[in-house]
C-alpha cells in the first residue's frame, strides 16, 4: 500500500445555517486518483477549497505527509506542494497567457526590477511541453483564447507550482473530446510519478474510468468511500442522490423522428477564422446534435447563429417567414433562444436576484403599452418558473451567484423555455451540472422536442449527443464533415472516425 499523502479528521465547514461539510474523514494515498462524487451543493468543491487553503475550515484537522497541514491561502498551499484548478476561478483576460501562468510569482523572472517576459514565455511553453498539454498561443491576450485553452492554461499554472497533490475541480467538462484525451494522458503520467490527484467531476463514466478510489458526499456528509472496482455506476448514482433515479436518462428510442416542417435554414454561413460554408436545416421537433474536436468550430456556430459574430456572411433565416436572423434581437423576435457554453459570463447576471434573472427574457412580453412593468406580474412569473423547474433557492430574491452550478443552469434554461419558443440553440447545456440536474435537463429537452421546438444541441460530450439527437452534425476544420442519422449511424467509433 502506498503512503498516506493527505488525511482529514472530522473536517467541518458551515456557511451560516448551511453545513457544507460535516465531520469529513478521508485518507488519500500517494500516486492515486481520488474521486469526489456528489450532487451540486453536496460539499465537494468546499472540501477541495479547504484542502487548498481557499476556504477556512471551522473544525477538524488535515494532515499532509503525516504533518498537520493548515494553509492560510492558495499560495501557502502551493508552497506545501498542493495546487488546484478551480471550477470557476478563471484567468485575467487582459494579460498575456504567460503572465497568467506565473501571476503572483513574477518576481522569479525579475532582474533589476524588470520582468523578463521572454524568459517567462519560455518557462510557460516549457511547462506545457513538460506535461504534454498541447500548445497555447503566447503572443496574445488571454481573453483571445478559447475556454478550453484557458482551462489548459489554468492546469499548467497549477502544475508550475510543482505540486505533489493536485485538485482538479470540474476541469474536463470544459474540454472537448481530444483535449480530454490529453488530460487523461496527463493524469496517468502524473500519478505514475507518485503524485496524487483529487478529482471532482460530474461525469460518472469518467470518474469510474480514471479514479482508484471514490468518496461519495451527500448534503455535506461522507456517505461512503471505497475502491472504484467495488462500485457500479448505478450504485454510485444511488449513493449520490440518496434514491434510485427514476425515469429515463437519455432517449430510449433509436429513431430519427421529427416533423417535416423546417424551422431554421442556414445557407453558406461563414465567419472568418471560425466557420466555413455551413449549410443545414433544423426541423420542427428535431434535436440536431453538433459535435467536433476542439477548434472544429462547434461553439463558434452557436454564437454565429445567434448573431453575435462579427463579419458573418451567409444566410440564417426562419424558413416559413423568410425572416433573416442577423442579430440576437432578430433571433429572439423569431422565437429563438441561445444558451452560451460560458454560462456565468454570457448567460447570467450573477450579482442580480434570481427573480431578475428569470424575468429578463420576458420583460418585453410583460411590459404594458407605455413600457412599464407590473411588479406583481414579474414576481408571479419568476415564482412560477422557480417552482415548476424546481430551482433550489431561498426565494426569488436569492442572489444568483450563490446558487449551485446546476441551479444556475436551470435558471439559464428555464427562463427561455417558458416563452413561446420555436427553436433553441444550446451550447453544452449540462456543463458543470450533476447527474440529477442532467437527467432533469434531458427530460425538459425531450418535452420541448415533443412540443415541436427545434433544438440545436452543441456538446463536447459524445454520449450526450448520441443519447439525445435525431441527427448529429459533425464538424471538422470549421466545416461540416458529415451528418449522421439516429436510425443507423450512432456509434461513438463512427462519430470519432468522421471527427478525425
Amino acid at each position: 500500500m502506498a503512503e498516506e499523502i493527505l488525511k482529514t479528521e472530522n473536517l467541518s465547514k458551515s456557511f451560516g445555517a448551511t453545513k457544507a461539510n460535516k465531520n469529513i474523514n478521508i485518507t488519500i494515498h500517494s500516486g492515486s486518483v481520488f474521486g469526489l462524487a456528489g450532487e451540486n451543493g453536496s460539499g465537494k468543491s468546499t472540501l477541495a477549497s479547504i484542502i487548498c487553503g481557499i476556504q477556512k475550515r471551522d473544525g477538524g484537522i488535515i494532515y499532509k505527509d503525516g504533518n498537520e497541514y493548515n494553509p492560510a491561502n492558495l499560495i501557502e498551499a502551493n508552497r506545501l506542494h498542493v495546487s488546484m484548478v478551480v471550477q470557476e476561478l478563471g484567468v485575467v483576460g487582459s494579460l498575456p497567457p504567460a503572465i497568467n501562468m506565473f501571476l503572483g510569482r513574477t518576481d522569479e523572472f525579475t532582474t533589476g526590477g524588470i520582468v523578463n517576459l521572454n524568459k517567462m514565455e519560455e518557462a510557460a511553453n516549457k511547462q506545457l511541453k513538460k506535461w504534454d498539454l498541447g500548445s497555447i498561443p503566447m503572443d496574445c491576450m488571454t481573453e483571445e483564447l478559447s475556454i478550453e485553452q484557458r482551462k489548459i492554461l489554468e492546469l499548467a499554472r497549477a502544475l508550475s507550482t510543482d505540486p505533489d497533490f493536485l485538485v482538479l475541480d470540474e476541469i474536463s467538462q470544459a474540454l472537448s473530446h481530444d483535449r480530454r484525451e490529453i488530460l487523461y494522458r496527463f493524469i496517468k503520467r502524473f500519478t505514475k510519478e507518485g503524485k496524487t490527484i483529487l478529482m471532482v467531476t460530474h461525469d460518472l463514466d469518467e470518474m469510474m474510468e480514471i479514479c482508484d478510489t471514490i468518496a461519495v458526499l451527500r448534503d455535506g456528509e461522507m456517505i461512503e468511500t471505497k475502491p472504484t472496482s467495488e462500485f457500479t455506476i448505478n450504485e454510485l448514482k444511488r449513493k449520490m442522490i440518496g434514491r434510485e433515479i427514476s425515469g429515463e436518462y437519455y432517449r430510449s428510442d433509436w429513431k430519427e423522428e421529427y416533423q417535416e416542417e423546417v424551422i431554421l435554414e442556414v445557407e453558406n454561413l461563414t465567419v472568418p477564422d471560425q466557420l466555413k460554408d455551413i449549410s443545414f436545416q433544423l426541423h420542427k421537433g428535431e434535436i440536431l446534435g453538433v459535435c467536433g474536436l476542439s477548434d472544429a468550430g462547434i461553439h463558434s456556430l452557436g454564437r454565429a447563429l445567434f448573431g453575435m459574430s462579427e463579419r458573418r456572411t451567409g444566410k440564417v433565416c426562419v424558413k416559413t417567414t423568410k425572416a433573416l436572423l442577423n442579430k440576437p434581437k432578430d433571433v429572439i423576435k423569431a422565437g429563438g433562444a441561445y444558451l452560451s457554453k460560458d454560462r456565468d459570463l454570457d448567460g447570467l447576471m450573477l450579482d442580480a436576484s434570481l427573480g431578475s434573472n428569470l424575468a429578463v427574457p420576458s420583460v418585453s412580453d410583460l411590459s404594458g403599452r407605455l413600457g412599464f412593468l407590473n411588479p406583481r406580474e414579474v414576481k408571479n412569473l419568476a415564482e412560477e418558473i422557480k417552482d415548476s423547474f424546481e430551482i433550489k433557492a431561498t426565494g426569488i430574491e436569492h442572489i444568483v451567484k450563490s446558487l449551485s452550478g446546476g441551479n444556475r443552469q436551470k435558471v439559464n434554461l428555464s427562463r427561455w423555455l417558458v416563452k413561446d419558443l420555436k427553436f433553441i440553440i444550446l451550447d453544452c447545456p449540462t456543463r458543470g451540472v450533476d447527474i440529477g440536474v442532467k437527467a432533469y435537463i434531458y427530460n425538459i429537452l425531450k418535452k420541448a422536442k415533443k412540443e415541436g421546438i427545434g433544438i440545436l444541441l452543441i456538446s463536447d460530450e459524445l454520449s450526450e449527443t448520441i443519447g439525445m439527437s435525431d441527427r448529429i452534425m459533425i464538424m471538422r476544420d470549421r466545416r461540416i464533415a458529415g451528418i449522421l442519422s439516429r436510425n443507423t449511424d450512432f456509434t461513438e467509433d463512427k462519430i470519432i472516425e468522421v471527427m478525425l
Binding site: L89, G90, S94, L95, I99, G104, T106, V115, D139, E144
Partner: protein
C-alpha cells in the same frame, strides 16, 4: 495569419488612419497644420496630458477612479513654486516638493477610498473640493499680503521649455512603459484591474498594490504639475470642482488610449492619443473655432467620442 502578424497589421492600419487624418486636416487648414513650428507647438502641448494620462493609467487600471487629480496638480504645483521662490529652495523645492506633495495628496485621496471603503470617485470628488479650498484659502491670504493671489515662477522654468520638455517626455514614456509592462507592480496592477478574484487568489496583496500604483501614478502627476508650472509660470486656484477641467484633455487621452489597447500597449497609446487630441484642438484653433466655449464644447464631444471608441466592441453594459 499569426497573432503577431495580425497585431502588426492593426498597428499599420492605426498609423495609416492617424496619418490620413493629419493629411486631410492639413488640407482643411491650408497646410498650416504640418509645419515644423506648428508641430512643435502640438508636441509642447501634448506633454502635459501625456504625463497626467500616464499617472491616471497607474491609478485607474487597478479600478480607482480618482477625480482629485486636477486639484492635486494645482495644489502640488503651487507648493513646489512656493518652495522654489518664496522659501528659496530652487530646483530642489520645485521638483522635490511638488513630487512629494503630489504623492501625499494622492495617498490621502486613495487611502480615503481604500481604507474607508468609499467608492473612489466619491472620495476623489470630496478630496478635490478640499484641495481646491486649501489653495483658494492660501490665494486669498496671498492676495491680501502680496497683492497677487497666485505665486509666479519667475526663475527655474527650463523644464517648461524645449528641448528639456521633450527630453523629460521621452524619459517619462520609457519609465511608464517599463513599469506598466515590465515590472511586477505594473503586472499586478493590471491583474487587479482585469480580475480581482484571480489576482487575490494568486497571492497579490491588493491594498499594497493599489497604494503603490497610486504612488507611481502620483509621481507622473507631480511631473505634469512641474512641467505645467514651468511652462505657464503660474497655476491659478479654482473652486467648485473647476480643477476637473484641468484633466479633461488627459481623460480624453486615456479613453482613446484604452480603445487602442488591443493594438498598442497603454503607455504607447497615450503618446499617440495625447498628440492626436492636442492636434484636434490645434486644428480647431486654426479653423477659427473660438478658444472658450466653442473648443470646450468640442472637448466634451471628444471625451464622449473617445468613451464610445474605447468600448466599441464591448459586449455588455458599461457602468
Amino acid at each position: 495569419m499569426g497573432v503577431k502578424m495580425r497585431k502588426l497589421k492593426k498597428q499599420m492600419i492605426l498609423l495609416g488612419c492617424i496619418g490620413a487624418i493629419f493629411v486631410i486636416s492639413n488640407m482643411a487648414v491650408d497646410g498650416r497644420l504640418l509645419t515644423w513650428n506648428n508641430m512643435k507647438i502640438i508636441i509642447t502641448h501634448a506633454i502635459f496630458p501625456s504625463f497626467v494620462s500616464w499617472g491616471m493609467m497607474f491609478i485607474f487600471t487597478s479600478g480607482l477612479i480618482d477625480l482629485s487629480i486636477g486639484a492635486n496638480i494645482l495644489l502640488s504645483a503651487n507648493i513646489g513654486a512656493i518652495c522654489a521662490m518664496d522659501l528659496g529652495m530652487g530646483y530642489f523645492g520645485l521638483i522635490g516638493m511638488t513630487l512629494i506633495s503630489a504623492v501625499i495628496l494622492e495617498q490621502l485621496s486613495v487611502n480615503c477610498s481604500v481604507n474607508l471603503k468609499i467608492p473612489s470617485w466619491i472620495s476623489g470628488l470630496g478630496m478635490a473640493l478640499i484641495f481646491e479650498a486649501i489653495l483658494t484659502f492660501y490665494s486669498t491670504i496671498r492676495s491680501k499680503t502680496e497683492g497677487s493671489s497666485n505665486i509666479t515662477l519667475v526663475n527655474y522654468r527650463e523644464m517648461g521649455s524645449m528641448p528639456y520638455m521633450a527630453i523629460i517626455w521621452i524619459i517619462g514614456f520609457a519609465a511608464a512603459y517599463i513599469i506598466f509592462n515590465r515590472s511586477t507592480l505594473g503586472l499586478n496592477i493590471r491583474a487587479i484591474g482585469g480580475n480581482e478574484g484571480v489576482a487575490k487568489a494568486m497571492g497579490i496583496n491588493m491594498k499594497k498594490t493599489m497604494l503603490s500604483g497610486a504612488v507611481v501614478g502620483a509621481l507622473f502627476i507631480g511631473m505634469a504639475a512641474i512641467i505645467q508650472e514651468s511652462y505657464a509660470g503660474k497655476l491659478a486656484s479654482t473652486s467648485g470642482l473647476g480643477s476637473l477641467s484641468t484633466i479633461f484633455k488627459s481623460l480624453a487621452t486615456v479613453l482613446l488610449a484604452q480603445s487602442f489597447e488591443r493594438v498598442v500597449s497603454m503607455p504607447v497609446g497615450i503618446i499617440f492619443s495625447a498628440v492626436f487630441v492636442t492636434s484636434l484642438f490645434n486644428v480647431l484653433t486654426l479653423i477659427g473655432v473660438p478658444s472658450g466655449t466653442g473648443q470646450e464644447m468640442c472637448l466634451g464631444a471628444i471625451v464622449i467620442l473617445c468613451g464610445i471608441i474605447s468600448h466599441w466592441r464591448y459586449k455588455g453594459v458599461v457602468k
